[in-house]
């Protein structure tokens, strides 16, 4: 039994054996043989060697589970082992983490990014041009998708022309609506915004009237709420005919007459206490039944559908420009420039944006498929059919402004500077006149890049 008294060398040897065990990796994990979906030709045999990692930013675990199941399905379809990584956390921005991983060479092969970030990623040389692969793909056309996202996804900053390159394909689109607490609106005796919208009378004046009546219920009830980021206040600027940038998107436009008109209307709501204070998350009070109208996108639907009061949605009211000024939000699947398998990565992007895959994601109710066509709309309208889903499609149809990157400057810098000055305005720290004098001073520096 003496051999059982381990000497230091035996112990070191045991540790070394353990470490050497690691050399056997990647260990063959149990894998089901790839089975193509019924009716499809079998894909090439699954390669043991090729593993692609891909990532999105799901809003919650349920959505992450949907993407994980999609990953399995697409894996069988294209014959490559896929590892899906749900991104994002409470402590770090999705894009910040992603860019850090790209800098250190550990980023996934395929990932989703918001439309505003395309230029930043392209300018830093992080994305692969997919045009050569798309050109060889039967049935592929840029026209299958909404033109606004495709403008930016095919923009070549070197030549200033669009259509030459392909940085990715849009995963989904979305627009703003107003989520309504119908119980509060009825209690306040305010007109039903859905009826006003149907009658073509849903404009800023009507919106303000509903907000006032709900607010008059008193206590901690508010007529309207939105969250503090560029989307909500930008929609009011758009609806007044203004916007963040000039037409060429190379200068600040916050101080134009139209932009100021949109902000003035919004400021009035805050100054008169009709809205949840700017800077506070409006979703908790809305879900607590204390806000009449809450402005948000399709992604908020799953969370809001659990509330106990009677709710629905209505499109944004029309502003002085005669339009809602809505955004066309979008994000895209793009390919890491340093991927070792560019062709397979393109196959993955193409597969992830096929109608049946998009329909699965859309079935969660969080977004609208990025492919155009009546069939897609019909599928979308089937989700939560008792609700006014048409409001989202109306937003898409009313000349929305596409969420867009800033090819001539730094969007993160512009957003940060604009956010600070708009926050000062809407929290009452500065007046509209002061805003008009200084609003573009800091954001304009974002164009100095």
């Amino acid at each position: 039994m003496r051999f059982l008294t381990f000497s230091p060398f035996v112990r070191l040897g045991a540790i070394a054996l353990w470490v050497l065990s690691a050399c056997a990796v990647p260990a063959p994990l149990p894998q089901q043989p790839a089975q193509p979906p019924a009716g499809e030709a079998p894909a090439a045999p699954a390669s043991e060697e090729v593993v692609l990692r891909w990532r999105t930013r799901p809003d919650n675990k349920e959505e992450a589970d949907v993407y994980a199941s999609i990953s399995d399905e697409v894996s069988k379809r294209i014959g490559v082992k896929l590892i899906y990584e749900p991104g994002g956390s409470e402590t770090a921005s999705y894009q910040d983490v992603l860019k850090t991983e790209l800098a250190s060479g550990t980023a996934p092969d395929v990932f989703w990014i918001p439309g505003t970030d395309i230029a930043d990623f392209v300018e830093r040389g992080l994305l692969l041009d997919l045009r050569p692969f798309a050109a060889k793909t039967p049935g592929y056309s840029d026209d299958n998708f909404y033109p606004e996202p495709m403008f930016h996804l095919t923009y070549n900053p070197a030549t200033g022309k669009t259509g030459e390159v392909l940085w990715g394909l849009p995963r989904d689109v979305s627009t703003f609506v107003l989520y309504l607490n119908l119980d509060l609106i009825n209690e306040a005796g305010a007109p039903d915004p859905r009826e006003l919208a149907k009658a073509g009378k849903w404009d800023w004046a009507a919106f303000e009237e509903v907000a006032r009546k709900v607010n008059a219920l008193g206590g901690d009830i508010k007529g309207y709420g939105m969250n503090a980021w560029w989307g909500p206040y930008g929609a009011f600027m758009n609806a007044a005919g203004g916007g963040f940038f000039n037409k060429e998107r190379n200068a600040c436009n916050l101080t134009s007459k139209e932009s100021l008109e949109g902000l003035a209307f919004l400021k009035k709501l805050y100054d008169e206490g009709l809205a949840v204070p700017y800077g506070e998350d409006s979703e908790p009070p809305f879900r607590a039944g204390k806000v009449g109208m809450f402005q948000n996108g399709r992604w908020a639907t799953p969370g809001i559908s659990t509330v106990t009061f009677n709710w629905d949605v209505v499109e944004l009211p029309k502003g002085p420009s005669g339009h809602m000024g809505n955004w066309l939000f979008w994000g895209a699947y793009v390919v890491n420039k340093n991927t070792k398998h560019p062709e397979l990565a393109w196959k993955l992007v193409d597969a992830l944006t096929q109608p049946e895959i998009q329909a699965k994601v859309a079935a969660r109710g969080t977004n609208i498929p990025s492919r155009r066509g009546e069939a897609v709309f019909e599928e979308f309208l089937k989700i939560l059919p008792e609700k006014n889903n048409q409001a989202f499609l109306n937003g898409l149809a009313d000349q929305p402004t596409a969420e867009g990157p800033l090819w001539t400057g730094s969007w993160p810098d512009f957003d940060r500077a604009m956010g600070a000055v708009v926050s000062d305005l809407l929290t009452g720290k500065i007046t509209l006149e002061e805003f008009a004098k200084i609003a573009c001073d800091e954001p304009s520096k974002a164009f100095n890049r």
Binding site: T91, P277, Y278
Partner: protein, 560 residues
Amino acid sequence: MRLNRRLFLLSDLGPNRVLASLALWHGVQGALLIALGVGGLVSRTQLLSLVHGIALAGAVVVGFLSVVASIGIARRSHIGRAASLVVHYLLFIAALIGLASALDLFKGLDVLADYAAEGVPFLMAFVFMVGYALRTIELSERPVPRWRRRIGSAVMLVGGVGVALSLGLVTALLDWVAKLLQSPSALVWLALAVISVFLLRVMWRDPVAAWLGARRTHGEQLVGWLFLSPNLLGFLFFFAGPLLFSLYVSFTNWDAFNRRDWVGLENYARAFGLVVQPLRVPDQPASEALDVRTYSELMRVHLPGQSFLIGARDRLFWISLGNTLLFSALAVPLSVVPALFLAVLLNMRLPGMRLYRTLYFIPSVAAVVGVALIWQWMYNSQVGWINYFITEGINFINALLGTDIPDPQIRWLADSSYALLSVVIMSAWQWIGFNTVLFLAGLQTIPRELYEAATVDGANPRQQFFHITLPLLAPTTFYVLVTASIQALQVFDQVFIISNGTGGPGTSTLTMTLNLYQNGFQSFRQGYASALAWILFVVIFLFTLFQFRRQRKASSAYES
């Protein structure tokens, strides 16, 4: 033993030949390493990556040490022996890392971590742990009996072998050998490792030590350094190295991807760049007084008869500096003074005191993110608990006294006047528990006899607190103040969560570390962010130095 002798017959060649060979070896090795390192550093037209930079700088340092070893051995100095041992130890470590990298061992370890914690490997690891427990845990005051140690060892053996086999040891060994034979770089690393071990052994032997005049104390010192080396090397590579790298990056415009131009002090000049312009009228627009493409309005100073506008190249730097100092000025006293009084209370001998101590410490161990999210909900002006209690309190007072005090409905996180204060309250609440424990530890070192003597002398509790407790607690208070100040000056998590990473509303919660993060990881100005980090370091250093000076003065005044 015979094999060992044969392997190390080198020392039997006689001192002159052996030492001459070793000196020559070190000389050549040193020259090669220095040439490799300097050549690599100089030939690069672009700035280096972190790994390459460290590797080349390391080659220069080891080469220099090798030259020192060569000279020392030639002069028959024990310093030469010590340098030789250090050189070959470092080369051995480098060779092991290189070998592991060439054989994909690190990737293997990653995958191992993914699946070793489940199934049969996990079960076998559990068996191993059971064996370890059998072998070592003493159930009584007697040492572990021999039979239990043996059974424990056997179980550990079964478990260890089981883990290795279930993880694919045989496959691993075959794969390892195959990779080794296919990879020239792996073979080179293996050869270097073997040579290093061989020369370590030669130099460590008693005859060689005697030829070089090394005494036993020298050997003991080297063993001491050997034990220190894991920590020291870790410190150098994972702390001091990145620290110096960030200093170097602060003189570049590196964006972590492409641009890596040397810009000298430009990043520092940008942070500190200020301009003062006289104004024609106090409310003259900044755009008329400043070049707003470069400068931003920071503040206006109104003196009798003349107003001035101060512009900054990076106003966010100054704003974040101001916010950080204000935060520290509020959070440090709020987390230290209540902690002191709490510690005095918890130091009393009362029933349930241990429970109270635990309760007060819980916020300190709670995750900052969770705490910040909970406070974010509590601060919600509409549905948050804090405003709810304020409203209920005011309603109660109004009903009781017939007054008409208005409900302030404070917008804690939405009003720039309150946002930083909200973060201060939350942070102080979280830090109090830890400070309390430190004070408690300090209080328990004060001899009770002093209080008994003071009581006999007629001192009341207040006098005892100010004349015994506070002075004798001064070293603890100093430590708490220094650590709390450093913690406050580095505040990040709380503001990041509370403001959703914006530092808002406006710029009211933008602290230096958040500004640094935004520059470094959102706008990817790594060079500028590094400069900000070094500026923050200097601020903290000066602050701490100031506290040390004050403490020294206070101590000498008290002693005199």
